[in-house]
C-alpha cells in the first residue's frame, strides 16, 4: 500500500473511530501496530491473573477499516477483470482510487453498485467470524462502517 493510501486508511479509521468510540482515539496507533501481531502462547513473567473480557469497539474499528482498504485496493488492481466489473460501477474506477487516498464520507455510494456494497460488507463481517466477538458489537461497527462508506449525510 503506497503512502497516500496508508494516509487515507489512517484518516478513514480515525473518522470511523470518531463516529463510534471517540474516547479510544489516542489508542489508534497502538491498535494499528497490532493488526498483524502474532498470538503469544508462552511468555515468562508474572501475570495479573484476571483476564476478564474488555468490551471495546476500537480494535474492531481498526480491524474493519484495515479490511475495507485491503479489499478495495485489491479491487482496484483487478480493473478490467470480472470481479471488479461486477462490483464497481462503470467508469468510476478512478473515483475509487481517489477515495482510497482521500476517503470522504459516503464517497463509495457513487463507486460501488449494490452487489459491491453487499460483497464488501459481507467480507468485513466474515473477517470477524471465529473471533469470539459479541454480535451486537460487530453489528454496531458494521452499521457505522456502512454509514461512513455509503451515506454522505
Amino acid at each position: 500500500m503506497d503512502n497516500a493510501r496508508t494516509a487515507g486508511r489512517n484518516e478513514f479509521i480515525d473518522s470511523l473511530m470518531r463516529d463510534v468510540s471517540p474516547e479510544e482515539l489516542p489508542l489508534i496507533s497502538d491498535y494499528q501496530s497490532a493488526i498483524d501481531a502474532p498470538s503469544v502462547k508462552n511468555i515468562d513473567g508474572l501475570e495479573f491473573g484476571i483476564e476478564d473480557a474488555v468490551v471495546a469497539l476500537g480494535p474492531l474499528i481498526v480491524f474493519a477499516g484495515t479490511k475495507v482498504f485491503t479489499d478495495l485496493s485489491q479491487w482496484t488492481l483487478q480493473t478490467g477483470e470480472k470481479i471488479a466489473e461486477k462490483y464497481i460501477k462503470k467508469g468510476t474506477e478512478h473515483l475509487l482510487s481517489r477515495w482510497l487516498s482521500s476517503p470522504k464520507k459516503g464517497g463509495l455510494r457513487e463507486v460501488l453498485n449494490e452487489d459491491g456494497k453487499r460483497e464488501l460488507m459481507s467480507m468485513v463481517r466474515a473477517s470477524f467470524r471465529n473471533k469470539k466477538i459479541p454480535k451486537e458489537n460487530v453489528d454496531k461497527v458494521l452499521a457505522a462502517l456502512e454509514r461512513r462508506l455509503f451515506d454522505d449525510r
Binding site: 479510544e24 489516542p26 501496530s33 497490532a34 513473567g45 508474572l46 484476571i50 471495546a56
Partner: protein, 508 residues
C-alpha cells in the same frame, strides 16, 4: 509523590523478605543436594589420589551443584529471552498509556520499559526482567482499558510494577532455579540409593534360593541400606512437598501483597467484584480443593483483601511449617556432623575440641538464622496491618501448632532418628537415650518460634530495628541456651580402655 499508607514502608520489607527467601531456599537446596550427592559420589573415587583430599566428596558435590545451577540459570535465561523475542513486543505509541504507566512507575520509584504485545485477544499484563531491565508488557486487548476504564488500567499496571518493585520476579527466578537443581540432585541420589538397595535385595534373594552362591550380602548392611533408601525417600519427599507448597503459598501471598501495593498507589480496589455469600455457596468441591494450588488467589479473595482497606492480612502459614522444618533440620545436621548419638557427642565435645564442633554448628547456624529472619519478616509483614484486636492467644496457639508440625515432619524424615532404630528391641528407649539432646534442642526451637512471632507483631508497630533484630535472634538464643545446659549437665566421658573404644569413640 509520597506514598501514604504502607507501600513505602512495605516495599523494603518485601524486598528483604524476597532476598531472605532466595538465600534460605538456596541454602536448603544446596545443603541437602551436596550432602546426598556427596554420599553418592564418595565410592567413585576410592583408591585414587582424590581420596587424600579432606572431604573431597563434598567439594566435588559442591562443584557439581554449582555447575548445574549455572547451567540451569543460563539455559532458562536464554529461553526467557527467546520467548520474549518470539512475542514480538512493540513500542507503545499512545501518550495516554505511557503517561499513565510512567506516573505509577514514578510513584514506586521504578525505571520500567513499557511494551505492547500480542493481538487483540491478548489480555495479559506481564512483568519481567530481561537483560537486567524491568519490563512491563501490556497485551493489546488490555489497551482499551486505558481509555475506557483508566482506574482499572492503572490498577493492573500498578500490580505488575509492585511485583517488579518488590523483586518478586528475580527472587522467584532464583528459587525456581534451585528447585530444578534440587530435583535433579535429589532424583540422582534417590535413584542411586534405591538402586543399591535393589541390588542387595536381589543378591540376598539369590543367596537364599541357592546356598552354593557366594554372596557379599551382610544382613546388617542390608538393613542399613534399606533404612538409608527409606530415609532419603522420605526426606526428599517431605522437602519436595514443602518446597512446592511454600512456593505456591508464597506466590499467592505475593499476588495479594501486589494488589495491596497497587491499591495503595492507585487508591482504588481490585477491579473485580467479590461474589456474595450465596454465590460462594454454589462453588463446587473441585474448585475448593484446587483453590490453594492455583498460582493466583481468586477474585473473591483479592477483592475482599482490598475492600476491607487492609490488603496485608494474609499470613503464609506454610512459611512457619517450612521454616520450622528447616531450622530443625539444621540443628539435626549440625549434631549429626559431630557424632551419631548424644553420649558420643558429649564425649567428643568435652574431650576433644569445642572449637571444631562449633565450626560445624556455625555453618548450620548461619542457615538457621536466615530461616529465622525470613519467618519473622514474613510474620511481621502480615501483622503490619492486621487487626490489633484479634486474639493473640489463638494466634500463638496456631503458630505453635505450625512450628510443631514442621518439627515433626523433620523428625519423621531424619536419618539420625531412623538409624537409631536399627537392631533394637525397645526403639523408644534407645531414641530417648541416643537423641535426647536433639529432642531438647528441637523442643526449644519449636517453642521459641511462636514466642518470637508474638513479639515480632509488637515490634512491627514500634519500628525499632534493635528490638526486631533481638526478636529474630530469639529462637537461636533459646537453642544455644539449651545447648549450653546440655553441655553442662552431660556426664564427663570415661577414659578409653579397649581398642574397640578407640575405634568407636572420636575422643579417644
Amino acid at each position: 509523590m509520597k506514598l501514604e499508607v504502607g507501600a513505602d514502608r512495605l516495599l523494603p520489607s518485601l524486598r528483604r523478605e524476597n532476598d531472605l527467601r532466595s538465600w534460605s531456599i538456596s541454602s536448603l537446596c544446596f545443603v541437602i543436594s551436596v550432602l546426598y550427592l556427596g554420599t553418592m559420589i564418595n565410592p567413585l573415587f576410592h583408591e585414587t589420589w582424590i581420596e587424600n583430599i579432606t572431604n573431597y566428596h563434598l567439594i566435588i558435590a559442591s562443584a557439581v551443584y554449582l555447575v548445574l545451577y549455572l547451567t540451569v540459570a543460563g539455559v532458562r535465561k536464554r529461553l526467557a529471552y527467546a520467548r520474549f523475542k518470539a512475542a514480538a513486543p512493540r513500542r507503545l505509541h499512545s501518550s495516554l498509556v505511557t503517561n499513565l504507566a510512567r506516573e505509577i512507575a514514578r510513584e514506586l520509584g521504578l525505571k520500567v520499559i513499557f511494551l505492547s504485545f500480542g493481538s487483540f485477544d491478548e489480555r495479559r499484563v506481564i512483568a519481567q526482567v530481561v537483560k537486567s531491565k524491568a519490563i512491563v508488557q501490556i497485551g493489546t486487548g488490555v489497551l482499551p482499558l486505558a481509555a475506557l476504564k483508566p482506574v482499572e488500567f492503572r490498577f493492573r499496571l500498578a500490580h505488575e510494577m509492585a511485583h517488579l518493585a518488590a523483586n518478586d520476579y528475580r527472587s522467584d527466578r532464583i528459587v525456581s532455579n534451585h528447585y530444578l537443581c534440587f530435583a535433579v540432585c535429589a532424583g540422582a541420589s534417590l535413584a542411586a540409593a534405591l538402586g543399591n538397595y535393589g541390588y542387595f535385595a536381589i543378591d540376598a534373594v539369590l543367596a537364599r534360593m541357592n546356598p552354593n552362591i557366594i554372596t557379599t550380602s551382610n544382613p546388617r548392611y542390608f538393613v542399613h541400606l534399606a533404612l538409608s533408601a527409606f530415609a532419603a525417600t522420605l526426606l526428599f519427599g517431605v522437602v519436595s512437598m514443602l518446597l512446592f507448597a511454600e512456593r505456591r503459598a508464597t506466590r499467592r501471598a505475593r499476588e495479594l501483597l501486589a494488589d495491596g501495593l497497587a491499591a495503595d498507589v492507585t487508591r482504588s480496589g481490585v477491579p473485580i467484584a467479590a461474589r456474595n455469600a450465596e454465590e460462594l455457596k454454589k462453588g463446587n468441591l473441585a474448585e475448593a480443593i484446587l483453590k490453594p494450588f492455583l498460582a493466583h488467589p481468586d477474585g473473591d479473595d483479592r477483592s475482599r483483601a482490598t475492600e476491607t482497606g487492609n490488603p496485608f492480612v494474609y499470613f503464609n502459614e506454610l512459611v512457619v511449617v517450612t521454616h520450622s522444618f528447616l531450622m530443625s533440620l539444621y540443628i539435626d545436621l549440625s549434631l549429626q556432623v559431630i557424632a551419631d548419638n548424644a553420649h558420643r557427642r558429649a564425649m567428643y565435645i568435652m574431650e576433644k575440641s569445642v572449637t571444631s564442633t562449633l565450626v560445624a554448628c556455625l555453618v548450620g547456624g548461619v542457615f538457621y538464622f536466615m530461616s529465622a529472619r525470613l519467618v519473622m519478616t514474613a510474620g511481621s509483614l502480615s501483622y503490619g496491618a492486621s487487626d490489633p484486636q484479634s486474639r493473640l492467644s489463638e494466634t500463638m496457639f496456631r503458630q505453635l501448632a505450625y512450628s510443631i508440625c514442621g518439627t515433626a515432619l523433620m523428625l519423621a524424615s531424619s536419618q539420625s532418628i531412623w538409624f537409631t532404630l536399627v537392631d533394637v528391641r525397645w526403639p523408644v528407649d534407645r531414641l530417648l537415650k541416643d537423641q535426647w539432646d536433639l529432642f531438647c534442642l528441637l523442643l526449644a526451637n519449636a517453642l521459641a518460634i511462636p514466642v518470637a512471632l508474638f513479639f515480632s507483631r509488637r515490634a512491627w508497630t514500634k519500628h525499632n530495628w534493635a528490638i526486631r533484630g533481638a526478636i529474630v535472634a530469639l529462637p537461636g538464643a533459646a537453642v544455644l541456651l539449651v545447648g549450653t545446659g546440655i553441655f553442662l549437665v552431660s556426664d564427663h566421658p570415661p577414659p578409653c580402655h579397649s581398642p574397640q573404644e578407640v575405634v568407636a569413640r572420636k575422643d579417644c
